[in-house]
Amino acid sequence: MSDKGEVDLTGAKQNTGVWLVKVPKYLSQQWTKATGRGEVGKLRICKNQGKAEVVSFTLNEELTTVDTIGEKSSMVRAPREHPFTLQTVGGQTLAVFTENSSDKIALEGLVVQRAECRPAVSENYMKLKKLQIEELSKPMRFSQQLDKAVTTNYKPVANHAYNLDYERKKKEEGKRARADKQQVLDMLFSAFEKHQYYNIKDLVDITKQPVIYLKEILRDIGIYNVKGTHKNTWELKPEYRHYQNEEKSD
């Protein structure tokens, strides 16, 4: 996508002015509950000689209900009146850019006014705050006394599940039988096609051969290296490998 990084500069060109407003957390939570078109309240701007002087936001009635845990919703209500504290942008140039879901970037505009949304202090607000503090002050972890002692964890004599597994395995495999050398070689080669280095245990797993027998075969066709890493691994001898090219020689 050639224009993936391309920034849409229409906002900057139009010099669209936006306001950057800092909004308290509870208020933004209330706003997320908005229904319909998303109307959350009303903004009243009193201008004096063209400049916005007094700005106040009024929260819609239906959004004042606060969802709290363990409290009745009607107990605490969010305050409705929120005067805005206006601040200048200062020397900073604050631009707003948006990112699309398809990763397109567009410049929406420049911030012309900064404001802080403050709740008008009221009983309601105080209660709300109290609630918040209580919630936050609860520790994340807590100790709880149990009524009954836990008796479900036995100390097993032997690991039952493990035991079963073990016996099952023994039954199934018995001692690993030595298969035909050629067959084993085939298995090994196909394994080494996938990976270059193998642990002996893994090879035993793959080939299901007894270790000694397998080691003998490996000594023929492979080399054991202490690759510098912890585990010692087997790999095929150079004459047997053809990793970049065609198939291996045998």
Binding site: L20, L94, E108, K194
Partner: protein, 532 residues
């Protein structure tokens, strides 16, 4: 809904918070001082800076096929868990932005995400819509954009260097200029050498304009300071000159180095030589940065001869040319003088070189001791040399170009080298007596061997590339300026004189004994000089 008020007008706007925006709003913050005006942007590109990805990528061992291990990934995981190593995820979201404005020639910015923006309060962007209502969008993240420098900057090491020299360097423009020059050279060869070369260039170039009376100026720190200071304004103009002079300065420096090497086989105390990459055996000096062991003076002296060019390697003439360019008085003067002398000396060398090796072995110990700055008994064999010189060897066009470096190297090495060269031998009978007399440590020879007629001097017409190592020549050098043994050796290159380096050393030692020059310790090195 309009509500009129007395003096100020108050209007109410509906505030909407759209629910289903696919667009994420972010803040792009610029510093006040950067004077960024978005309206001037004609075009902009912005992408995530993925340069940190490899840190999180871990070392990727090949997956499958060659080089991979069975179950490697799982084992690595288990190992990490066991040790409690928690690796942070590489989140694309948190990566910085790279913003390029107005294309290639425009500005570049890097935008770093500011943390903690949405933790306790949310920022909203209030935009006024067409219907007068406000729409509020939550700000997803905040990026602080800083402009990136497009001009060349010094690296940390370079900056530290320059800082150390801040009191000395007057002209600051040259700092970046030199760095750029340095980088150009680096393109040609190894970085290490290039930097050294560049550094030296700068250093030496500074002295380029000064009249060089003394080789030692190369090594004295003071001179570099002075020249740097004095060059102040002229630096830029001289930068070119500096480069030219650079190799010359180096040549001189090398000469010094060789001298010191030979003088006592002691470690060079001169810290300036540390890190110098000196290739004693190199025949070619392919670029200025490599350290060809070609002493400038010897080159310089070859120039006027002309005949010498045949036997010389290219670089030598190169260096000569450079020497010429600079037009150092001293050099040329020396050259002029040396021309006849050198020839003589070469002749002498040749002849003595051709003499028995027994001579060598005999005199070896003497020479060695002589060169090791012990008090020399006046050598009384000047005259002998003269006669010996009469037997001139033919030209040796095929002589391999053996650097004078070879001579200044260990005696053995040099001797070997020379032995490889051709030595036309026309050992005259007159030589034998000369040789014998040499062995005998002749005392009857007066110490005014200096004044002993040197028939060889008559033979100032050299055959091609012959230079004689005569007492006269040595005396001439020493009168003009103090020289170390190394310097002297450089004057008498083995391939010129036809002597092996050992022989050269021996003969020179004898001459010095005869001349009994005065000594002076300059810059920790023993120099000889004569006052006539």
């Amino acid at each position: 809904m309009q509500i009129g008020s007395s003096s100020s007008s108050a209007t109410e706007y509906v505030v909407r918070v759209p629910k289903n925006t696919s667009k994420k709003y972010n803040i792009m913050a610029f510093n006040a001082g950067d004077k960024v005006s978005c309206s001037t942007w004609t075009q902009a590109r912005m992408e995530r800076d993925m340069s940190n990805r490899r840190i999180y990528g871990e070392e990727e061992t090949p997956d499958g096929a060659a080089g991979s291990e069975f179950g490697k990934k799982q084992r690595e995981e288990a190992r990490r868990k066991k040790y409690g190593i928690v690796t942070k995820e590489f989140k694309v979201e948190d990566q910085p932005w790279i913003l390029k404005v107005n294309g290639k020639a425009g500005r570049r910015f890097k935008g770093l995400k500011k943390g903690g923006v949405t933790e306790n309060a949310s920022y909203y962007i209030f935009t006024q819509c067409a219907d007068g209502a406000f729409e509020a969008f939550p700000v997803h993240s905040w990026y602080n954009f800083t402009p990136q420098a497009k001009h060349r900057t010094l690296t940390a090491e370079e900056a530290e260097e320059e800082w150390g020299r801040r009191n000395k360097v007057v002209n600051h423009f040259s700092i970046m200029l030199q760095r750029r020059l340095r980088q150009q050279e680096q393109g040609e060869e190894e970085e290490e050498e290039g930097e050294k070369g560049g550094k030296k260039k700068k250093k030496k170039g500074g002295r380029g304009g000064d009249l060089r009376i003394h080789d030692l100026e190369d090594d004295l720190e003071m001179s570099s300071d002075e020249s740097d200071g004095s060059n102040g304004d002229d630096d830029e103009a001289k930068s070119k000159a500096k480069q030219d002079k650079g190799p010359k300065g180096k040549g001189k420096k090398k000469k010094k180095k060789k001298g010191s090497d030979l003088e006592g086989f002691e470690d060079s105390d001169d810290g300036d030589f540390e890190g110098l990459e000196v290739d004693y055996m190199s025949d070619e000096s392919s670029s200025e940065e490599e350290e060809p062991e070609k002493p400038k003076p010897s080159k310089g002296e070859d120039v006027p001869k002309g005949i010498d060019e045949m036997s010389e390697s290219e670089e030598e003439s190169e260096e000569e040319n450079k020497n010429e360019e600079d037009g150092k008085e001293e050099e040329e003067e020396e050259d002029g003088k040396k021309t006849p002398v050198q020839v003589e000396k070469k002749k002498k060398k040749d002849s003595s070189g051709e003499s028995d090796s027994s001579e060598d072995s005999d005199i070896e110990g003497e020479a060695a001791s002589a060169l090791f700055m012990k008090k020399r008994t006046p050598p009384k064999r000047g005259g002998v040399r003269g006669s010996a010189g009469s037997s001139r060897t033919g030209s040796r066009p095929g002589t391999p170009s053996i650097d004078s470096a070879a001579t200044s190297n260990t005696l053995r090495a040099a001797a070997n080298k020379l032995e490889q060269g051709k030595r036309q031998t026309t050992v005259p009978s007159s030589e034998t007596p000369a040789t014998k007399r040499l062995k005998m440590e002749p005392s009857p020879q007066s110490s005014s061997g200096k004044s002993t007629p040197q028939p060889v001097s008559g033979k100032s017409t050299p055959s091609s590339s012959d230079v004689l190592l005569t007492e006269d020549a040595v005396r001439r050098y020493l009168i003009r300026k103090p020289m170390t043994t190394k310097d002297l050796l450089k004057k008498f290159q083995t391939k010129r004189t036809g002597l092996s380096s050992e022989q050269t050393v021996n003969v020179l030692a004898q001459i010095l004994k005869r001349l009994n020059p005065e000594r002076k310790n300059i810059n920790d090195k023993m120099h000889f000089y004569l006052t006539e």
